[in-house]
């Protein structure tokens, strides 16, 4: 993998009146990487994407793809990016092959090559059987495949897909995941936004978390998870409801104010989060055993991208609330 970034934004900012949609965003992606771009609605993901594909001009900062400036050379950018917006943008009364033919011709793909490119794009996305169907008659999942096939027509090095898994059933989601991994294997750099975080975690090797126009976390999935892991979630399985009450009381007494202890008598379970190390966990377990609480399991829960996302957004909310209180 070369060090030259395929996609790079430097201090990218977009301001609408007194609203900052994007605040000094700096990210860097290399060839073959898949970036999972996550954040709540209105976080600035679509604004970033639209700047990258040349649909929006940034207020300040720089965005480039393959070294080409996204604002100054929007014409070249169009050849370098395959963009799939969150809406399909269908043309009624048109068959899939005609739809792709139009975009192929728009990208000035010579007629001789166009048929092969259409067939290849449809084959990669598993949509070859849809070639003669009318676009408006396709189901949502089928449309998503055709939309990805469209982005592949001119063979761009970077694909930007806005919510490709949105509205897909589980089977279609698995297929979509395979399509995206296949594209990355072919050397494409992908930027994918999604609200389905477990799906993203399975395909992305880079993650960017945004809230309120700001980049809150950026790095490989492991780096992001390590940042989140400063808080560990422990789950204790007990044998009776009395044990649950007793264990919760002991933990609250010993873990201090920073820890959150939750009881679930119906599951006979107590959960708590802590910033403590292995030593402090051993002490907590010892206290429970000494107090004759009957513990059947004591385990650390695995955290995923969803926890990372929630942790980052929660942290942001706290910061904003603190800022407002100060003001």
């Amino acid at each position: 993998m070369s060090d030259a970034p395929v996609v790079e934004t430097v201090e990218l900012t977009k301001v609408y009146g007194d609203f900052t949609a994007l605040d000094h965003l700096s990210i860097r992606l290399e060839k073959g990487q898949i970036l999972g771009f996550i954040g709540p609605n209105g976080a600035g993901k679509t604004t970033t994407i639209k700047i990258l594909v040349g649909l929006i001009r940034p207020t300040s900062g720089k965005a480039s793809i393959g070294g080409v400036d996204c604002t100054a050379d929007a014409r070249k950018i169009k050849h370098l990016v395959g963009y799939m917006p969150d809406t399909f943008g269908s043309y009624d009364n048109m068959r899939v092959r005609e739809y792709l033919d139009f975009f192929g011709a728009a990208f000035k793909i010579p007629r001789k090559q166009r048929q092969d490119r259409i067939n290849a794009s449809l084959a990669i996305t598993g949509a070859a059987h849809m070639a003669d169907l009318y676009v408006e008659s396709l189901s949502h999942g089928m449309k998503q495949r055709v939309a990805i096939a469209r982005t592949l027509l001119h063979d761009p090095p970077v694909l930007i897909l806005d919510e490709p898994a949105n509205g897909l059933d589980p089977a279609a989601r698995v297929e979509m995941r395979e399509i995206l991994l296949n594209l990355a294997q072919r050397g494409k750099t992908l930027i994918v936004t999604s609200h389905i975080l477990p799906e993203l975690a399975r395909i992305c090797n880079m993650v960017a978390i945004m809230t309120h126009g700001k980049l809150r976390a950026f790095g490989t999935l492991d780096q992001i998870m390590q940042n989140v892991r400063h808080q560990r979630m422990i789950e204790i399985q007990l044998l009776s409801e009395d044990d649950v009450v007793q264990a919760a009381a002991i933990l609250r007494e010993n873990l201090g104010e920073g820890a959150t202890v939750t009881e679930s008598p119906s599951e006979m379970m107590v959960r708590f989060n802590t910033t403590g190390n292995e030593q402090s966990l051993a002490v907590a377990l010892q206290r429970l055993v000494s107090a004759q609480v009957r513990v059947s399991q004591f385990r650390e829960m695995q955290q995923d991208l969803e926890d990372a996302f929630l942790s980052v957004t929660q942290q942001t909310k706290t910061e904003i609330a603190a800022g407002e209180a100060q003001a």
Binding site: G89, Y91, D92, F102, A105, P110, R111, D132, Y134
Partner: protein, 556 residues
């Protein structure tokens, strides 16, 4: 008002800011009509001539207003709900299809009724002048207006239930009403000189679907065109009442029948192409459709010299495919040949000027009716469907997009214009001296086509909804081509001849009719002024279109 749909439709319509604007404009128009013909110096003709003139102008204004406004909301009403998914929720509620239809119909009639109430002050002012009968004129006039609104709403709802998108529903509704209100008058016009009672009866009843004969009858004129009577044994008004009620009732029943759960019970198009069918089917379709015109043919790739946007427009437009184009051209040829036949049989009654008048009217009507429907959605539909951003991420230049879109409509218009040429050939056979005039008319028609195309396209680039762009394009073009003829109809009585001549010089239809020396237009000569007017507007429209397209393709 117990029906929740009535409440929602009616109040929903009243909440729209453009409805408030419409009411203000409506009141201003009514006030202008009254002020325009209000007797100067406070003196009124005791014979009631001035009052009748005011009543006539006011009635025409209300009728045209009803014809334009009443169909708009019902035409979009059901199909919009179908598209947004709320119709399924309504059908899933305890409301019966009849209750839904009733709610939609009454809700749709709300706005026309308000507009009609707003006409009462103007009508009262007219009545106060004296010489106007309440029983024989005012009440029948309101009956006609109410029936026009009812008929328009019934047609609009029926089309809306069957249509698949809002734009086509609106276009089709206006097209159907155009046929009912104007085209059905033509058969009577053609058979009026024959003495065949069956033809006369059929022609008379067909004409009774239109409110125009009834309105003219109430206003004291029995003519629908050049002094030809449509009054028969029974009253013209009675016939109109019967026709409009029967039509509204039948359409209502059909609509209720259609408004069932099975409205959505449609399979997805299988997309089967002829190339994949059995040998027999393939052979049959290739012969029957002459291969090229087969709608199920697998189309070839876009050629290197073709503008991709133009080809895309042909393929996405419902009537852009070759088989539809051929159907349209076929209809034009049949009409053209019909006119030739009529000229051959009726050479005693048809003068070349009359034939020319019919040809010009027919072609201008086609152009004015078809062009906005093809071009008012060129840009707006892309913005509405959000496919514009896909165009923006392609390397297509704004010039290429504009050119492709305009060419797609130009081809259709050219085919339409060429299809009606045989009629002019007949004119020249009858009278060779008409050659110069025919050439001038053909140039005018070409300019009219380009004029309508550029104006509609420029409007399209300013709107994000095709329905709005189409409505404005139609309003402007119909106002220019048809609205200014109202002044011509009232020449010498309501309006001075100089005013009429001044206004008509901006009407391209009047210029073409004047060139062909059509009856009533022979005294005018303003073709050059009109050409300059059209060229100026076309220039402005082209600049607007290119600028807007360029702006829309730029980064935000």
């Amino acid at each position: 008002m117990n029906n929740p749909i009535i409440r929602r439709e009616f109040i929903g319509a009243l909440r729209k800011p453009n409805v408030a604007a419409l009411e203000v404009v409506w009141l201003a128009i009514l006030a202008a009509v009254i002020i325009l013909r209000w007797p100067a110096g406070g003196r009124v003709n005791l014979a009631g001539t001035q009052a009748q003139q005011v009543l006539s102008l006011l009635s025409w204004t209300i009728l045209v207003g009803m014809m334009l406004v009443a169909p708009a909301f019902p035409a979009a009403s059901v199909v919009a709900e179908k598209r947004s998914g709320t119709l399924a929720l309504l059908l899933n509620s305890p409301l019966s299809p009849a209750a839904i239809y009733r709610g939609k119909l009454i809700g749709a009639l709300g706005l026309p009724m308000i507009l009609m109430l707003l006409t009462i002050p103007a009508m009262t002012a007219c009545f106060a002048m004296g010489g106007v009968s309440l029983v024989h004129q005012v009440l029948p006039l309101y009956l006609i207006f109410i029936l026009v609104a009812l008929e328009s709403a019934a047609v609009g709802l029926y089309v809306s239930i069957r249509a698949n998108d809002v734009d086509s529903a609106i276009r089709l509704t206006y097209a159907v009403l155009f046929v009912l209100d104007l085209l059905l008058l033509i058969p009577y016009r053609l058979v009026v000189n024959t003495q065949d009672p069956t033809f006369l009866l059929v022609g008379r009843w067909l004409a009774s679907f239109s409110p125009l004969p009834a309105l003219l009858h109430v206003l004291g004129s029995n003519s629908i065109h050049a002094g030809n009577s449509v009054s028969g044994g029974e009253s013209v008004i009675t016939r109109f009442v019967i026709c409009s009620l029967v039509l509204s009732g039948v359409l209502g029943l059909l609509s209720i029948q259609r408004l069932g759960q099975w409205l959505f019970d449609r399979p997805r198009a299988s997309g089967k192409v002829t190339d994949e069918r059995s040998t027999q089917v393939r052979a049959y379709r290739r012969i029957m459709y002459l291969w090229f015109f087969d709608p199920q043919r697998r189309s070839g790739l876009i050629g290197p010299l073709s503008n991709p946007v133009m080809v895309k427009e042909f393929r996405t437009s419902r009537f852009g495919r070759s088989h539809w184009m051929m159907r349209l051209v076929g209809i034009c040829l049949i009409v053209s040949l019909g006119l030739m036949l009529a000229a051959a049989y009726g050479s005693m009654t048809f003068q070349p000027q009359t034939l020319g008048e019919l040809m010009v009217m027919f072609q201008v009507m086609l152009i004015v009716l078809i062009t906005p429907s093809l071009s008012a959605g060129l840009i707006s539909s892309e913005l509405q469907n959000k496919s514009w951003q896909l165009l923006r991420v392609t390397p297509l230049s704004p010039a290429s997009i504009v050119l492709g879109k305009l060419l797609s409509v130009c081809r259709t218009l050219l085919l339409l214009l060429f299809a009606t040429l045989p009629g002019y050939a007949v004119m020249l056979v009858i009278d060779k001296g008409q050659a110069d005039r025919v050439v001038t008319v053909l140039i005018t028609l070409g300019l009219i086509a380009l004029f309508c195309l550029l104006v509609s396209s420029a409007i399209s680039s300013w709107f994000r909804k095709t329905a709005q762009a189409t409505a404005l394009a139609y309003a402007l073009l119909l106002g220019l081509f048809g609205g200014t003829l109202v002044f011509w109809a009232g020449r010498g009585t309501l309006f001075s001849l100089s005013l009429v001549a001044g206004i008509l010089q901006f009407n391209p239809l009047a210029a073409a009719l004047a060139t062909i020396h059509a009856p009533g237009f022979a005294d005018y000569n303003f073709v050059l002024t009109n050409w300059w007017f059209m060229l100026t507007v076309m220039g402005v429209a082209a600049v607007v279109l290119v600028f807007r397209t360029w702006r829309l393709t730029r980064p935000d």
